[in-house]
């Protein structure tokens, strides 16, 4: 796909989106960020081609659109997450509907950002996901706080997976307020690494918790 020699240490990215215009936009944005060290090694425009390209390229990160012809980002995740544990997925969509967000995260994506994200922010998110961390947009943080609301029946939630710690809650609140990880760390007097640890823990809970409220919440929000 590229004729340049692969840059050592660069994050290898496959871009999956059915809009060619959008793909070229992202490509330009990521390439222009000088310190980004991000290399787009492949593109795909539907579920089948995405599975093919990702299997062939084995990238570090896949930027995955939620709505795709052939079954959506969900289908790509279902096909590849169990087989390629080293490939990390970052969902990228114009939709911020709760069921879209929750379903790709539950499907195995390491983060969710909307397409209104700026180029440098996207580059940062890609690098963060490549490092194994999670990427939460303010809206996703809000969703999680809402879904794991403290007011639910305490008897029903006794597992660690089903509730957030006080610290995780604080971190999510700040992210929902539009703070960057760096600013969150500064406000809570903790390191960025610790912030990332908290967010990854929340992501794990979000993916593994079989808490009934989570799915009910996502459906309920549609009706609001």
């Amino acid at each position: 796909m590229t004729d340049q020699p692969p840059r050592p240490g660069a994050v290898r990215v496959v871009l999956v989106d059915d809009h060619r215009m959008f793909r070229s936009g992202v490509r330009a944005e990521l390439a222009s960020a000088p310190e980004s060290a991000i290399e787009i090694v492949g593109e795909a425009e539907d579920v089948d081609s995405a599975v093919r390209v990702i299997e062939a390229e084995q990238p570090d990160v896949v930027l995955l659109d939620v709505h795709l012809p052939g079954g959506g980002g969900r289908a790509v995740l279902a096909a590849l997450v169990p087989r390629l544990p080293d490939v990390r997925f970052l969902a990228l969509s114009v939709s911020d509907a709760p069921e879209d967000v929750i379903s790709v995260i539950r499907g195995g994506a390491r983060g969710y950002v909307t397409k209104s994200i700026t180029g440098p922010e996207l580059a940062g998110a890609v690098r963060r996901v490549a490092d194994g961390d999670a990427v939460f947009s303010p809206r996703l943080a809000g969703f999680v706080l809402d879904a794991f609301a403290a007011t639910t029946d305490v008897a029903a939630v006794d597992e660690d997976l089903d509730r957030l710690t006080q610290r995780e809650r604080e971190v999510l609140r700040l992210i929902a307020r539009g703070y960057t990880y760096k600013e969150v760390g500064k406000a809570l007097f903790i390191s960025v690494k610790t912030v990332e640890t908290h967010v990854s823990a929340v992501l794990r809970k979000l993916q593994l918790s079989n808490r009934y409220e989570l799915s009910r919440w996502a459906t309920d929000r549609r009706l609001v």
Binding site: D17, D18, H19, M21, F22, G25, V26, E29, D65, V66, H67, G72, S93, V94, S95, D96, A97, E99, D100, K115, S116, I117, T118, G119, L122, P138, R139, A141, G142, L145, D146, A149, T151, R173, A176, R177, G178, Y179, E183, R222, L223, V224
Partner: protein
């Protein structure tokens, strides 16, 4: 990326809200006309369940012979499972001796099963009754099968011979039913007894029902199909009207204001917001809640000042007087932030808790030294801090040069 990214939406607008993420449809049981012996029930079932068609047929025969349940089941499936059009094989339907033989076999086992069913019910074994009933049965099967053929013919171009043989077959079916019914009336039934009139009426009614059954069924199905089509048409018209009223209109306005990037951004943002709420919140509640009002206020400020505001709300509550004041304060804080935010989006985060509602308004503007601003110059002081205090709430302003400004508004909830 912001501008081009917002311009291309990855969701197909033709999908009406609510079905946007349609779940995979459960395959419906249909009868298959290709390679069928009688009505295609066995083949349809076999394809639906993923088993061999021979197995299903044997099962039907066994069930028919052992008590006659197979006949009832077959009849039920025949009536309720619709016939599926199969355009690939419609044009070349092989009509051979083998198939006729198979059909005869199927008919024979059905008749045998029917007789056994009647004997199980304690009616049969009287040859005077059984023979006419068998005649009626064959007539009904021919009629209903003919009805299926008529339906299939509507999917292909009917040839004259087909229509002719169809009429012959339908006539034969009617004749058989009438003959059988007549035989029952003339033969074993004592028409002169007290219940004779009722039995005669019953036999005639049943005969009429059996003869006209296929056409009734078809009429019901056609009605349903037509209603479905009308609903789809209405939905399509609604989507078209929406696209026309909002999206096309905005695109026209954008083309007219190409020289004013600020206006273009504002129009695009307003349209995006409107489309989003249409797509993702189809059943918006007209009642005013904290969520809906915060979003409305943010939308108004976006429109008036051409900034982007990211709204995140956790929880929800009905509005009261104090929360109304909180909304006013939020608007002031947003307007203030919009003046300094520059190109960066403003973040609004609202959390509704049982005891209080907290709103954070954050911009990424230049920021300032909170202490160094004179009392009278700070627009926030009066409109935001004062208003919050009058309603028993609290407002805090945090700012740092170079790191933006954040206004925190807290309002206790009235015990309700």
């Amino acid at each position: 990326m912001r501008a081009p990214a917002c311009a291309c939406d990855d969701r197909r607008v033709s999908i009406p809200p609510g079905t946007a993420a349609a779940p995979p449809v459960t395959p419906r049981l249909v009868r298959v006309s290709r390679g069928r012996l009688l009505a295609g029930v066995a083949r349809g079932l076999a394809e639906h369940l993923g088993v061999d068609v021979l197995l299903v047929r044997i099962l039907f025969v066994v069930l028919s012979v052992a008590g006659g349940a197979g006949v009832l089941m077959y009849g039920g499936f025949w009536i309720f499972a619709p016939l599926q059009p199969d355009p690939a094989t419609e044009s070349a339907q092989p009509v051979g001796r083998d198939r006729d033989l198979g059909m005869l076999l199927a008919l024979g086992s059905l008749a045998l099963g029917g007789a056994l069913l009647l004997s199980a019910l304690g009616i049969g074994l009287n040859p005077d009754l059984a023979v006419p009933l068998a005649v009626v049965g064959v007539g009904v099967v021919i009629l209903w099968r003919q009805a299926d053929d008529t339906q299939r013919e509507r999917w292909r171009t009917a040839t004259a011979t087909h229509r002719w043989s169809g009429a012959v077959r339908a006539g034969a079916g009617v004749a058989l039913v009438v003959l059988g019914g007549g035989a029952i009336l003339v033969g074993p039934v004592d028409l002169n007894g007290r219940s004779g009139g009722i039995v005669a009426a019953l036999v005639v009614t049943l005969g009429l029902g059996l003869v006209s059954g296929p056409w009734w069924m078809r009429m019901v199905r056609d009605l349903n199909a037509e209603r479905g089509a009308r609903i789809r048409e209405q939905e399509r018209a609604e989507v078209a009207a929406h696209v026309h009223d909002s999206v096309l209109h905005t695109l026209t306005l954008i083309q007219r204001s190409v020289d004013d990037p600020r206006e273009v951004a504002r129009l695009a943002r307003a349209q995006e917001r409107e489309l989003r709420s249409w797509l993702y919140r189809p059943r918006a509640d007209p009642g005013a809640t904290v969520t809906s009002e915060i979003e409305r206020v943010a939308a108004e400020v976006e429109d008036a000042h051409g900034v982007a505001i990211e709204v995140v709300v956790v929880g929800d509550a009905d509005l009261d007087e104090h929360l109304g004041a909180l909304l006013h304060a939020t608007r002031e804080a947003l307007v203030n932030a919009a003046k300094y935010a520059g190109q960066w989006p403003i973040s609004v985060y609202t959390e509704v808790e049982p005891q209080q509602v907290t709103v954070f308004v954050r911009d990424r503007g230049p920021g300032f030294q909170v202490q160094s601003v004179p009392e009278d110059r700070l627009g926030l002081r009066q409109s935001v801090v004062g208003r919050m205090q009058r309603h028993g709430g609290r407002a805090t302003v945090r700012s740092e040069p170079g790191a933006g400004t954040e206004v925190q508004l807290e309002m206790p909830r009235s015990s309700s």
